[in-house]
């Protein structure tokens, strides 16, 4: 009886899931696989991959996402490490400094960034890719710091002591103990940064990068009343993300050992 009651607690989320996740997904799949007359077709799919421009956009989005994620990781890991391991007096204040930007609306932050970059670069339009990466990094950095910080904080210190007792120096301890154990944090950080940076076209718009990325491309299809083509691109993106998820999930499992799991850890 008690167990049944507990299951009832899932009901609100279940309803939410069906109404706002599952149902729209079904609609997207329906539109993606039909043409204007409602008949089944794969034309939308072939159309997307046959055009070097649309595949180019896929690659461009991918490039932005990869570079942004790498930059975020390179910036975030040392910070998270110092915050978690260091013996700072006002740790929470420092952490707050990194988290605080998230309290301000992101369009507002990007507007401010735009002005700062204009002062530095002069004319923003000469470095669209760079500006986009800077903007996205600025935007998503806290999402990378937080999970890594939490993993490092929870790390069992006796393991580090054991490593040093067994004669490993600090560098070796880091690469053979700390880094592998923090992989779950890294993976969830990558997830939080990589996926939105493939589609967050507002950053591009605001920083004067007029090239489409996946998000804006989908928007363009819908504005041109081509719901079928737009849905197909959304679906392609979904599949890519799914493959990516499965891959990294397995990878993280292997690295961190079963049980510790990635974000979708079983």
């Amino acid at each position: 009886m008690q167990l049944r009651n507990k299951k009832m607690l899932c009901l609100p989320y279940g309803v939410f899931l069906i109404c706002f996740v599952l149902a729209p997904l079904v609609v997207i799949i329906y539109y993606a696989l039909t043409n204007g007359e409602g008949r089944f077709t794969l034309e939308n799919l072939t159309g997307f991959f046959e055009n070097p421009k649309t595949t180019g956009t896929l690659l461009y989005s991918f490039g932005i996402a990869v570079v942004t994620t790498s930059v975020c990781l390179l910036l975030a890991y040392p910070i998270a490490y110092i915050l978690a391991r260091g013996k700072m007096k006002h740790k929470s204040v420092v952490l707050m400094l990194f988290i605080m930007p998230m309290w301000i609306n992101f369009t507002l932050r990007i507007t401010a960034l735009k002005e700062i970059l204009t002062v530095i670069e002069g004319n923003l339009s000469f470095h669209p890719f760079l500006n986009t990466v800077i903007g996205m990094t600025y935007d998503f950095l806290p999402f990378m710091i937080l999970p890594i910080y939490t993993t490092l904080l929870k790390l069992d210190k006796s393991l580090l002591e054991a490593a040093s007792d067994l004669g490993a120096d600090s560098v070796r301890t880091f690469f053979q103990v700390t880094l592998p154990l923090s992989v779950p944090g890294i993976i969830s950080g990558i997830f939080m940064v990589f996926l939105p940076s493939m589609t967050n076209y507002v950053v591009l718009d605001m920083l004067y990068n007029s090239t489409y990325i996946m998000g804006s491309l989908i928007g363009a299809y819908f504005a041109a009343y081509d719901w079928h083509g737009g849905s197909m691109i959304a679906l392609v993106l979904l599949v890519i993300i799914l493959v990516f998820t499965l891959f990294t999930n397995r990878y993280s499992d292997e690295d961190a050992g079963n049980g510790r799991g990635g974000v979708l850890g079983r």
Partner: protein, 510 residues
Amino acid sequence: MKLRRRTHKRLQAAFLAFALCLTGSGAGAGTVFAKSQDEIVLRVCNWEEYMDMGGWDEEERIVLDNGVTIFGEKPLYEDFEDWYFETYGMRVRVEYSSFGTNEDLYNQLNLGDTYDLVCPSEYMIMKLMAEDRLEPYSETFYDKNNERNYYINNVSPFINQVMNENEINGEQWGKYAAGYMWGITGVLYNPEKVSQDEASSWKIFENERFRRQVALKDNVRDSYFAALGILKADMLTDEAFQNAPDYAKRLEEEMNDISQTTIDAAQELLERLMDNIYSLETDSGKADMVSGKIVADYQWSGDAVYAMDQADEDDFELRFSVPKEGANLWFDGWVMLKDGIHKSTDSARQKHAAEAFVNFMSRPDNAVRNMYYIGYTSSIAGTKDNDTVFSYIDWCYGAEDDTADTVAYPLGYFFSGVSEDEDYIIAAPPEQVDRQLFAQYPSEDTLKRTVVMHYFDEAASKAINKMWINVRCFDIADVPMAAWLAMLAVFLLLVHKIYAKVSVKNVTVQ
């Protein structure tokens, strides 16, 4: 110069909307309660920020030379509810909502949203007309003897002519649409950096002297229009072409050229322009002109006025010019939807209320309220007996009485249909001639080289949208060699790593 216009309006509107949200819930409950048998609901969908929402400060009260006072207390559609009850003794409640782009509106209609009255742009009106979704205005709407028919009695003869000359499937636009706001496109420019001559051609967007300092519009119709202007510049500026008796007709054909070869040429040109422009923008161009980030911008006349006003406040000068190749004449108009009107319980009353709404919006004092709030130019001109609109223009742009140096700016073509009508000449300060006044009411000569851009049929629309997506997308051929190599390296590394792991596992298993 007189201080005027709606600098704080937008903020106020946002605040008001917020306040309305707060009070809305309470009011909503009240109306349900008070809803009587004879109240009808008129569903109106308009552009965002495209109607006076009232809430003016006391110092904004405008007293015109003809004695009329303009003041917005409540949103105009609420004033309409009161007016309708007072005039016709029937209750109507306006359900007012807004849309962001013509395409959004069209998508909303296809998704099953029902409206009685909407206000799209001319090409969307044409599309809806061609799809037989519009309800024609009734005969009585055009009866000039009825003084409550504010629209037909006050509409500008210029606008009326455009509406009646253009046809879709043999039917005049004027039967289905009532003009609301109108304007043209042109080039907003910084006279310190750009000469008037340079700004008088669409070619400014391919001028390498202004590389990465000019901005085009982030929508396919405007950018395609500019591309056509550049592609056909030689022909369009040829004197023989311009002086031909059928110039207007030929210009319209040329600027609506949707043959595949032209579309391909436009794609090639726009791809080249993408390298020369600062960005494609919809809204940021105004601020970037004022802050000096860019020196020229493809601009709609109403937004150009707004940007020039903003720049004036910073003691910075911007000007507006209309390219000599030709420019786009656009307007937004009220149209009734068959879906809305005929699906209501009493379609005759519904239609009456919708037509009354259009008439109320067209009453000159209300037209001025809207112009003040929105900053665009109303299609309403007024009459000699009721010259509120003209008085307002004079109040905005006319020189002070003691100014010696003025230029006569004739607006007869718009107000009475007689070009040199002496009643409609504004004595303007000379600098207004290529600035706000000109942008808001272009001279008659300028309008001769403006054309309406038609809607594209499905095939052409597909081709043009595809062209636009190609222009906007990243060409895979542009990926630098280094990036390909880096990707290859990462890929090989991953393969190696996985392979190493698998072999380690195999060893342990053994």
